[in-house]
Amino acid sequence: MDLSSINPILLIASIMISATPILLAAIGEMVVEKAGVLNLGVEGMMITGAVVGFATAVSTGSPALGFMAAALAAAVLSLSFGILTQILLSNQVATGLGLTLVGLGLSALIGKPYEGMKTPTMAKLDIPILGDIPVLGRMLFSHDPMVYVSLFLVLAVWAVLKYTRAGLILRAVGESHDAAHALGYKVIRIRMMAIFFGGACAGLGGAYLSLVRVPQWTEGMTAGSGWIALAIVVFASWRAERVLIGAYLFGGVTVLQLNLQAAGVKVPVEILSMSPYLITILVLVIISARGAHGAPASLGRPFHASS
């Protein structure tokens, strides 16, 4: 066992990379759930984003275009969920599970020709002054732009929900769609927009896996990230700052346990492999057990504007 082989600078840097896909998917799903919709199709939207992003980046040579295509593809897929559940009033749980299966199957089909290919890498941001700080510079300020986009999204979602009228209306719709309807708000339209946003975020998260973190395409490569994102939203009590903590915790333990495995720690590999899931859920349960849970009161309930 040789713990000195773990380089703390690289460790922190890889934690940020490891956490970003889950963070993107979770913050999007949080907005969807705040609007009162439970979309269990995060995994399917992520993997669709992963394959579409990879294919686009390979054929155009531009990772940036890949991310855009991934967001769009996953968002369009999520709209099918939106139309089924919001307009045709299908069951949200069943439709969300179906969305995951569709996404997994569709991505395998699209991705077949791209297996084993390499994608152009995304240039790291060279932040002028911050990037030159001795240790912190390499740790925090020399990543690709998507890491900062994800952090900015968390900040934006937090601020919009807390301080703006649009955020207030979104929360109101998730809290009581009947009351919101009585006041004249367009419940279905607001929820569709939230679902679209959630889909786009999941798509970005998936593309980050296939374009930056791995970076290549393998079938089923999301390997449950979408489900972890869903769990993080719940255990984070639907609060943006806790989603951030949850995602970084999960990313952190994942990277740490890989490093520990590499260093040959005398703990069974199975326990190390399950540790990110156990520790993330344990910590978030402890956080959420203390305070109010704050689940949106209309979460998962179908809305029909009957008079």
Binding site: R171, E175, L183, A292
Partner: protein
Amino acid sequence: MADTLLSLRGLTKAYPGVVANDDISFDIRVGEVHALLGENGAGKSTLVKMIYGLVKPDKGEMTLGGAPYVPAEPKAARASGVSMVFQHFSLFEALSVAENVALGMENPPKTRDLAKQIRDVSENYGLPLDPFRIVGTLSAGERQRVEIIRCLLQKPRLLIMDEPTSVLTPQEVEILFATLRKLSAEGTAILYISHKLEEIRALCDHATILRLGKKVATCTPADSTARELGELMVGSSFASPVARNHASGAVLLEVQNLTLPAPGAFGTPLRGISFSVKAGEVLGLGGVAGNGQDELLAALSGERLSDPGSVTLKGTDVSRAAPMARRDAGLLSAPEERLGHAAAPAMSLIENGLLTAARREGLVSGGFVNWAKARLFAEKVIKDFDVRTPSPGTAAGALSGGNLQKFVIGREILQRPDVLVVNQPTWGVDAAAAAAIRQSLLDLAAKGAAIIVISQDLDELMEVSDRFGALNEGRLSTIRPVAELNMEQIGLMMGGAHDMEVAHVA
């Protein structure tokens, strides 16, 4: 006609199978309080929804202040100066008062300015309210203030109020009336929907009465008796419950120092409740909604278990017994929430009957359901309690609220309980059916059962109860014979008076 504010001409709205409003015309004048009277299903809600832009009329027209008025949505109605306070509050429990108010406005100011405006208006109209409280923690009366203030901040020309007093204490009603009179003196017209006739006689300048979707009369309520108004509303005279001779026997149910923590974030704890009920007696428990009514029913029915010794049925301690055991022993209950608590909405009346009566009526033998007997039982409830349903196989959720209520109460009464606990037995039921339900409760008591009626309708409690107590924040007041009480004492017992003040008349 210069002072006519809103004029309705020939408004008609049909739904599949029913004409909700048929050719309705009347005028509301500037600054008048106009009552809209009618039983459940008379078409009041539909009419009001058309005025507020939630429903489009099939035929007919409206003018507001002389100009044609065709609100496409509530936003347009609010922009024209029409505001509405809903019967079931359209509030968001997890949001603060200020956020709730902001959601009802087109262009809300910054939170700090809005909070100041809320304080000013609430001060001015005698409706004290803290803008930063979370609505889920407010009482029903306070929630209504949030709705009223939300409307007042938009300076409406017409304020629609849908059954505003159904959840208020007598003192709170007085405050509300003072506010409404002040508004009307300032020139705001009020359309006041209710079926409480005395209130309308006290408050309203004119009344329009609807029956089965048609307008039957417009009259001046102060010139008519409540009985006349009631008969116009119902279309025939109905029987009031008959007084019975008072004979009470042995104590059947005894509750001693019943204390339970609150079941959830917005629930109420029960604090040291003690009372007893004798055979042949009706105990009425009043109080504003959310003061422990649901929690008390759950503790009595066995949904929540309490400390040993706190609930004693016929001399046996049943505090730790589950609902089935208490039912077997003769303690039956009918909770307030019809859909989802008292009845399973998607299941048929036969199945719903079976769910509570299975053991007492012997509808199950050796683990098998005897469907023939279950059907007979459901049919008996339907017949004895005049439940209007196409068949006993109809889903409970398809019945109107009043009919399902008759079924839910009838189902328990036909099981010959020794002790029956009912919560809001006539909520949302029309006058004739309510009278029938009250009569059946009295008949049951006359046969020697002990009955606890929990209700927010004080008139109802005065009519059926022998003794009265009030719940306030999970505590029970002293219990006193109804004959010795007047409305003022009842109001004080309900304890709604502590944060009340009369409007400062500016």
